[in-house]
């Protein structure tokens, strides 16, 4: 390359494109692709950080899937958590968004209030909820006024996951924001036209609002599934020794950094990744039947 002046506009732009891309590209290769491939290779070894890794073939994968391990317990708990939390969060977020889209007094204030939990650091949230859900905590006290004897949320194995789910639903604020944005994008004439045809508010909600928001539902659904399956911090803080709350990523973390079974933990990570990927693809495929994109021709 003698001089940049000799280059055509297009070549210059191409060069600039790759130059601008380089920092990200290097970061991607060094910090993402490298470790990713390394963990794939490690998953076939018994590496424990200190001794040289030995090739063990599929032994780790066999142990994860069939061997004596807590993998299925962790997957079961995680599935329970995600299966309830994700739909519940979406429904709650949608209802809140619709309410906050009405002409109510202090609308801006309420919008802020409902979004606030999403901005708080998760550790602070966990400590807050430990107080609220303590066996003689605020929530059980309030339940007591109505003669309900509240459970020992984070102590009783039967109530630890519901407790975690409650905490998760409380932080539905980011979903609310997306739905609000979506609601404001629905043209007014649709509601006007349907009203002329005699549709009531419920019918309008079901036939106009929900279909028009379906792409956002899908986005929240996929993000929610992935986020819920990866739940870590709250479990790590609250539920350390409780079998009812052994979850996938904390399980993986303990195997890797508690017991230094890097090979085994890598196998867990890959199997888990395949599960999440497959689940996401299934949801995407399924979404074709219910997600409506404006201007789409079927």
């Amino acid at each position: 390359m003698s001089s940049a002046r000799g280059m055509s506009m297009k070549a210059k732009e191409t060069l600039a494109f790759y130059l601008f891309l380089t920092p990200w590209g290097i970061g991607f290769i060094v910090f993402l692709m490298g470790p990713l491939l390394a963990s794939l290779v490690l998953s076939f070894t018994n590496w424990d950080l200190l001794q040289p890794a030995q090739w063990v073939g599929l032994a780790n994968y066999k142990r994860v899937l069939f061997g004596p391990s807590q993998f299925w317990l962790a997957m079961g708990n995680t599935a329970y958590y995600a299966l309830i939390l994700v739909p519940l969060s979406i429904v709650v977020a949608l209802i809140l968004a619709v309410l906050l889209n009405q002409n109510i007094i202090l609308r801006r204030f309420f919008r802020t209030v409902f979004y606030l939990p999403a901005t708080l650091p998760i550790v602070a949230v966990v400590f807050l909820w430990q107080w609220i859900l303590a066996p003689s905590g605020i929530l059980n006290e309030i339940l007591g006024w109505f003669g309900i004897h509240g459970p020992a949320w984070f102590v009783d194995p039967a109530w630890i996951k519901p407790g975690l789910i409650l905490m998760g639903v409380w932080a539905a604020g980011s979903g609310v924001v997306l739905f609000l944005a979506g609601l404001q994008g629905i043209p007014k004439y649709m509601y006007e036209a349907s009203a002329m045809e005699g549709a009531g508010p419920i019918r309008q909600f079901l036939m106009i609002t929900v279909p028009m928001l379906s792409p956002i539902v899908l986005f929240n659904l996929i993000n929610g599934i992935i986020g819920a399956l990866q739940v870590f911090t709250q479990v790590y803080i609250i539920a350390r020794d409780n079998k009812a709350a052994v979850m996938a990523v904390p399980y993986l973390y303990h195997e890797a950094f508690g017991y230094f079974k890097m090979g085994y933990a890598s196998a867990v990570a890959w199997i888990f990744f395949i599960f999440v990927m497959a689940l996401t693809l299934v949801v995407l495929r399924w979404s074709r039947s219910w997600v409506y994109y404006e201007g789409e021709v079927r």
Binding site: V30, F31, L32, G34, P35, L36, A38, S39, L42, L49, L50, Q51, G67, P68, Q130, A134, P135, S136, G137, A152, V155, D156, P157, G182, M212, P215, L218, F219, I222, I226, L229, Q230, I237, I238, R240, D241, N242, K243, V246, V249, L252, Y253, A256, F257, G258, Y259, F260, A265, S266, A269, W270, F272, F273, T280, L284, V291, Y293, E294, G295, E296
Partner: protein
């Protein structure tokens, strides 16, 4: 809204998916990055006949200062050697240490606690037996009773006992006086302890305002009772779990009864009401707990809070086996060290009478070297007598810690959790834990 939305969601999905994987198993990432951090100074300075050693430890900045003072005492008379003391995070010490070693950035000297066996089994730290022999050290004469055996693995010594201490019973003198009870003494029994604990428990309006002896499922705490009854978590060789033995169950039952039969300690729900960061020591500091089974490190925290407290031995079972588990630290040498001989000379000095003096002058936990104990006793806060402890040195024991210790502890905690919740029996919990630990020890 158009088709772009869909593409966005697919992209979000795939990037988050990848992020998950990396977040999920950042093993290689952390390894790579630690590799590129500072290369061992030892390698660069050895050519100038100067030897630089790195010592890793956990704890407070006072701990760090004390280690540095002790190392400096050595380097003052050996100017060709320098030692830098690196403070690693408390909670992830093992994790950070193993990553350093795996990344080729091994320290030379390593502070270890009694759960060093995984490091020894993986060859991260070396056996010191031949060094001890060459140096003609008589370890049993140098260090206080009970400490040396704690660092023996496969009949080889892996660390020199450094900071001593064992689990003892701290009691609130005012509460004992108010209840008209004599202070606990060496040789006091389970039944005396239980009688006192019940008398010290005060209930007002159905709410316990003062606990006799709050226990919070810390393993050295229940081990005090199971061991004294003659029970062990695993057999001597560390190959089989023995928690289903009658002796172990007897001790655990006694401990459990403190919570659910005699109510001298909070149960799981009551602990949850206090909040997850509250333990027996916090209650002791708040004058809500008359007795706390804990380590020597509490001496300074209790005396800084101007508490009027005493130390007594943990009560002994009718079977009469030792009741106080050692809780000290040792100094080991990393197999990755390029200067093992020098490192040994340094730790030999640091654990000598002269080398441990800064522990005494800085009011740290008791030195493991016998020669310094009397000097250390003199530094105890006014009114705190060490006499009853001196009379019960035979009740100190080292725990049996196999290389699979970390996994074993997690499984025991999980299987004992329903016990602490009051939802299962000692028999069932120990049965489950024994089965699980057996499987771990068998290599599964």
């Amino acid at each position: 809204m158009n088709r772009r939305m869909k593409r966005v969601s697919v992209m979000a999905m795939s990037t988050i998916g990848v992020g998950m994987l990396v977040a999920g198993c950042g093993t290689a990432a952390s390894n790579n990055t630690s590799n590129s951090s500072s290369s061992t100074p030892a390698a660069t300075t050895s050519s100038a006949k100067k030897i630089h050693l790195v010592l890793t430890m956990w704890g407070s900045s006072l701990d760090q200062k004390t280690y540095q003072e002790r190392a400096d005492l050595y380097t003052k008379s050996h100017p060709n050697v320098t030692v830098s003391v690196k403070l690693l995070p408390n909670t992830n010490y093992d994790e950070k240490l193993e990553t350093m070693i795996a990344g080729g950035d091994s320290p030379d000297i390593v502070e270890v606690s009694q759960d060093y066996a995984p490091l020894a089994a993986k060859g991260a730290i070396i056996s010191l037996s031949s060094y001890v022999k060459k140096a003609d050290m008589h370890v049993h004469q140098i260090y206080s009773k009970g400490y040396v055996s704690g660092y023996m693995y496969n009949n080889k010594l892996y660390a020199l006992p450094d900071r001593g201490g064992y689990i003892a019973l701290f009691y609130n003198k005012k509460m004992f006086k108010k209840a008209g009870l004599a202070y606990p003494k060496a040789g006091w029994t389970w039944s005396q302890f239980l009688t006192d604990a019940r008398k010290l428990t005060i209930v007002k309006d159905g709410k316990t305002v003062q606990w006799g002896c709050a226990v919070d499922n810390w393993w050295p705490e229940y081990l005090a009772f199971t061991h004294s009854a003659g029970g062990h978590e695993v057999n001597q060789a560390g190959t089989k779990a023995t928690m289903d033995s009658a002796a172990f169950r007897k001790g655990l039952q006694f401990y459990w009864n403190l919570i659910y039969k005699y109510h001298v300690s909070p149960d799981a729900k009551q602990w949850a009401d206090y909040g997850s960061d509250i333990n027996r020591d916090n209650l002791f500091l708040e004058n809500k707990n008359a007795m706390s089974i804990s380590g020597f490190w509490d001496i300074s925290s209790f005396s800084n809070a101007h508490m009027d407290f005493g130390i007594a031995p943990v009560p002994v079972a009718p079977e009469g086996h030792p009741s106080m588990v050692t809780a000290g630290t040792g100094l080991a040498i990393a197999s990755g060290s390029a200067h093992k001989n020098t490192a040994f000379k340094v730790i030999k000095f640091m654990t000598s009478a002269a080398g441990e003096m800064p522990i005494v002058t800085n009011h740290e936990d008791i030195p493991a070297n016998k020669a310094d104990v009397s000097a250390w006793v003199k530094t105890l806060p006014d009114g705190l007598s060490y006499k009853q402890m001196e009379l019960s040195q035979q009740d100190i024991f080292s725990p049996r810690i196999p290389p699979q210790w970390n996994e074993m502890q997690t499984d025991i905690s999980e299987d004992f959790t329903p016990l602490w919740d009051g939802t299962t029996t000692v028999k069932k919990a120990t049965e489950a834990a024994t089965k699980k630990v057996d499987s771990i020890l068998a290599g599964n």
